[in-house]
Amino acid sequence: MQTTAELLLLLVVLTDLAVLGSSRLRTCIRAVAAQGLLLGLLPVALASRYTVHVVALSAGTVVVKAVVLPLFLLWAIREAAVRREVEPLVGYIASLLLGAAAVAAGFAIATRLPVPDVAEPVLVPVALATVMIGLIVLTTRRKALTQVVGYLMLENGIYLFGLTQTESVPFLLEVGVLLDIFAGVFIMGIVVFHINREFDSLDSSHLTELRD
């Protein structure tokens, strides 16, 4: 029988694939928001008992990853009047296949990693797959906004990896990480806004032409 946590983790992988396969910026952002929600539910599903630590971590994650950051990204799309297409450097089919390969690699590698006592066996492979797919999105999408999405997924993967050690990682550290992402995405959003105003597009390859 599969546990709730396991099903949540599988849904996380599905949101990863949804980001890779969708051609609309908005769909990508919604998928990342859904992923944030799933990640927020995970600590509760994994915990043996509901401490303040677990519930607060869960609530904080949901608020930041599933509500604030997606709303901010959607706002950035509207304000910057970006074209809604993703414009990938690597085609959708190729990136979907790369994503499937990343998931396979995640599951293959995870069994060989010396990770101490993990409550949920799927956790580490899904974390690795999400990190790799985040990297794929980060490197193969041209728009600055999709790169933010990729960065968020990358971070989501790291967060998943952190969940293996929820019992021992202090609460403050996790809150600090959440704040970091929040600040990071905010700065990225402002940068995105300025790229757009400077070049009338969000194509980050323009940045290679910068001179003083």
């Binding site: 029988m1 099903l7 599988l10 992988v13 694939l17 979907l96 296949l97 998931v103 396979a104 599951f107």
Partner: protein, 307 residues
């Protein structure tokens, strides 16, 4: 091959053959109701077939026996594939180890015959439709095999008889996630293989946008009836395959299992109608993306099973 065949399995096959023309009707009716129209009666398919069978055929001078054989081979290959499904949840009329490949082969044979009969007319429209049909199929077929691979891994049976028959019931509690993924992939395949929205719009009759309809432009009378029956049967076959995966029927009685399959097929047809009224047709270049996405789902299902 089988030593002896349970005659009840054959009754189930006959029932599916009989209800097939109503299944696209259910999808169309659902779509009409959801979009605020009254729509054609569900049984319109039977009337169309009866009308077409009474008509004469017209053959172009340039077409050969390939054109005439096409519709017959289409229906025959689909019936062959249908015989391999364990509709009553116990045994299929035709089963042997590795018949999953034969199932896909029968489908490919039907498609091959239809495409050839389209090409045989020498019409550029039909050539275009044939090219699109084959393009879509070249993406869809590997996905079908991925789904079968997942089913075989989940159940340990190399025959559809076991893989979607009695053994699937035991596999569901163990591999829920993988089987849900396979079912999703199979539903996308059903839409793609049967030229439904979002891959193709069965309601349009504009040659430039069609995939399936355009191949059969030159067929007339009983030939067209066979082609129409074949496409209805293909939809029913895929729906039945999906139902066989989703609904374990081993615990049902021998008589209620086929009825459950028929009801399930009707539900799938309603789902198709819902999808059709909720979505627009995808641009042709986006279609492979959808099918490869389904393939990624099935592949993920396999990875979970291999773990």
């Amino acid at each position: 091959m089988t030593g002896h065949t349970d005659w009840r399995a054959l009754v189930a096959v006959a029932m599916v053959l009989l209800i097939a023309p109503a299944i696209p009707g259910i999808a169309t009716k659902t779509k009409s109701v959801l979009t605020g129209r009254r729509g054609a009666p569900v049984l319109q398919g039977y009337r169309d077939l009866a009308k077409l069978v009474r008509k004469g055929r017209v053959y172009s001078d340039v077409s050969t026996w390939v054109f005439r054989a096409g519709p017959v081979v289409v229906v025959a290959s689909l019936v062959l594939a249908l015989l391999m499904l364990p509709l009553d949840g116990r045994s299929a009329p035709l089963h042997f180890a590795g018949d999953v490949v034969a199932f896909a082969g029968a489908l490919a044979l039907g498609r091959f015959a239809l495409v050839l009969s389209g090409l045989d007319t020498g019409s550029s429209f039909e050539g275009m439709g044939a090219s699109r049909e084959v393009t879509i199929a070249s993406f869809a077929e590997p996905v079908l095999f991925l789904c079968f691979a997942a089913l075989v891994l989940a159940t340990g049976h190399l025959s559809l008889n076991g893989a979607v028959g009695p053994a699937i019931g035991a596999a569901w509690p163990r591999d829920t996630a993988s089987l849900v993924l396979v079912a999703l992939a199979l539903f996308v395949l059903l839409l793609a293989e049967n030229a439904r929205v979002p891959v193709d719009d069965p309601a349009t009759h504009l040659e430039l946008t069609m995939v399936h309809e355009v191949i059969v432009l030159d067929h007339s009378g009983p030939d067209l009836a066979l082609v129409l029956y074949g496409s209805a049967l293909k939809l029913t076959l895929f729906a039945a395959l999906l139902v066989c995966v989703v609904v374990p029927r081993a615990a049902l009685r021998a008589w209620t299992a086929p009825v459950a399959v028929a009801a399930g097929v009707a539900v799938v047809a309603v789902l198709v109608g819902v999808v059709e009224s909720a979505m627009a047709r995808l641009r042709l270049t986006r279609v492979p993306q959808l099918i490869v996405g389904a393939g990624a789902l099935a592949l993920f299902g396999i990875i979970l099973l291999l773990r």
